[in-house]
Symmetry: C2
Subunit: 369 residues, 2 copies
Amino acid sequence: MTDPRHGLDRKAALGGLALDGGGRLDAVEVAYETYGTLNPQASNAILVCHALTGDQHLASAHPRTGKPGWWVRMVGPGKPIDTDRWFVICSNVIGSCLGSSGPASIDPATGRPYGMNFPVITIRDMVRAQAMLLDHLGIETLTAVVGGSMGGMQALSWAATFPDRLRACVVLASAARHSAQNIAFHEVGRQAIMADPNWANGAYYDGTPPTAGLAVARMAAHITYLSEAGLTAKFGRSLQNRTAKTFGFDADFQVESYLRHQGLSFTDRFDANSYLYITRALDYFDLAEEHGGHLANAFRASKARFCVVSFDTDWLYPTPESRSIVHALNAAGAPASFVELSSPFGHDAFLLENPALDRVIAGFLGAAA
Amino acid sequence: MTDPRHGLDRKAALGGLALDGGGRLDAVEVAYETYGTLNPQASNAILVCHALTGDQHLASAHPRTGKPGWWVRMVGPGKPIDTDRWFVICSNVIGSCLGSSGPASIDPATGRPYGMNFPVITIRDMVRAQAMLLDHLGIETLTAVVGGSMGGMQALSWAATFPDRLRACVVLASAARHSAQNIAFHEVGRQAIMADPNWANGAYYDGTPPTAGLAVARMAAHITYLSEAGLTAKFGRSLQNRTAKTFGFDADFQVESYLRHQGLSFTDRFDANSYLYITRALDYFDLAEEHGGHLANAFRASKARFCVVSFDTDWLYPTPESRSIVHALNAAGAPASFVELSSPFGHDAFLLENPALDRVIAGFLGAAA
């Protein structure tokens, strides 16, 4: 551990932030973790951006679940994102529920949790809050912004919004906009939450949270994170009770039991309103739209090198989405490398053991340095 | 109209049925429709089997919604399934809610709706009830059994269970078993229904039905019926309000509004408990398992010719599922034709305008005659 504060839950009060939706947050707080040591020139920082339900606990244990950091296999001493070399920052996105300003935060205007009075935010709003955190930390330019899934969208938005502040941009299993199918799946999740009477229009913080609705939302989303072949390989039609079907409605198949567990355990660590707000930010994401309808325009001012990675079994953000990013980068004259990696694990592949991904990231960051 | 009873809502009381799950229904009722005229030899009958949320209103208006029959483009005078030539029967599957015995039916033991006391049924149980209906109608042998999706599973089960009673079997956009992903999506729907407090363990028939949960279930399932490309072509990221995003949680995107409508309108015509029972029957379906683990064994006694059709954008029951059926038919020495048709509409393609499908079905039935 090169940083004695490693793994501590830190929070920065960053002042006001004007939002894409026209609203304003007067007192943005951002919770974050850092790993490694910032050099005297403040030139060795890498920002890692988390996905929809991720958090700042990148490479240290999650305080609520006790589980290891979500990318501990990628980030640490001697790992592809090497904390002996880089100062790695990961912050909880605004709208989330792990310490950054979100719907569960206290609204200073009322002294009560925001609930649905929290303003709708965008991916770019998340990125602007991260930039304020960097200002707070005294970091002008990042060696790289790295992210998978929604983290990749933040990385793209970084390159478009702060073209001078990053030297490299790593975009994994992501897309430059949400497709109709992506929006549809999120809408199912939102409707599941809002159908739960405990949701109470978002004002449930003094009562019972809408865990049943949130669990259903997570179950539906979870299917999209896995490949059909991966589910078949892991579960197939195996029964919980190996001898026979029960001819009832308990979780007879292992895949049912697994999904129910995924849904329920998620409700222990995530806030339903945050799920609404972050899925909304994802659905609104369309980087081309923010730049006159031409994705290449988003990258014309960028000084970064780009590394774009897709996975062959990812059907949430399939390879053509990455390819269209690379086409735009090429059109903008931005240096870009692109690879489609093979994995049986679908969208979640970027989080899982994949030596080829390790080599791509370590090699790209080394060359970008 | 060659049959003056065309489109009338008819129901047959068929006596007792022993079920795969070990239970028994003492007084099975099956609601059905017929189109065309049965010839004196009773040799021109075609049974059409409906899908999960389908019904017997194949080619005549649905009594509740007033909408045209669900396959009116395929079935009628001069159409591919030509009612000038064939006597076409379509019955509501047991477990459903359009007149056949199901969880909303009165349990003779209690005088109250079965609810969750209805026994869990299988695809083969549905088929056995259809065979009882044919006995009732005086039809020993069918010219063909035709079905898409769950209807295709019934057609396969017909060939396996009553190998002497059909001369042809048409299986569209279907599978010989439910995959882990198929089960997972159904489990999301079931959990959405069961999470609705109005579900009340299935005993809601005197109160408020669980429409919110059923709507969410339908929304999740509906996505699986469409292709990603089809959703993009139909909706893309188009907004309801064409001028700007609202930065709220109303249905901002057209695809959201469409899905919400699909969910809500479904609750007008379908019973939540029936949705639980029929999805369960689908998940339990594994034709190979019923025949010693070898799908070919299911077809060894069959005297039928088979026609198997898949659609290139169907990701619910993708082409490899059809191909494995055809491999088994080949191994069993059963005559089988197989074609993958092209369509932008995903799983729902079998229900929609597709001249190539019309030619395949008309040609196959003509040759089978």
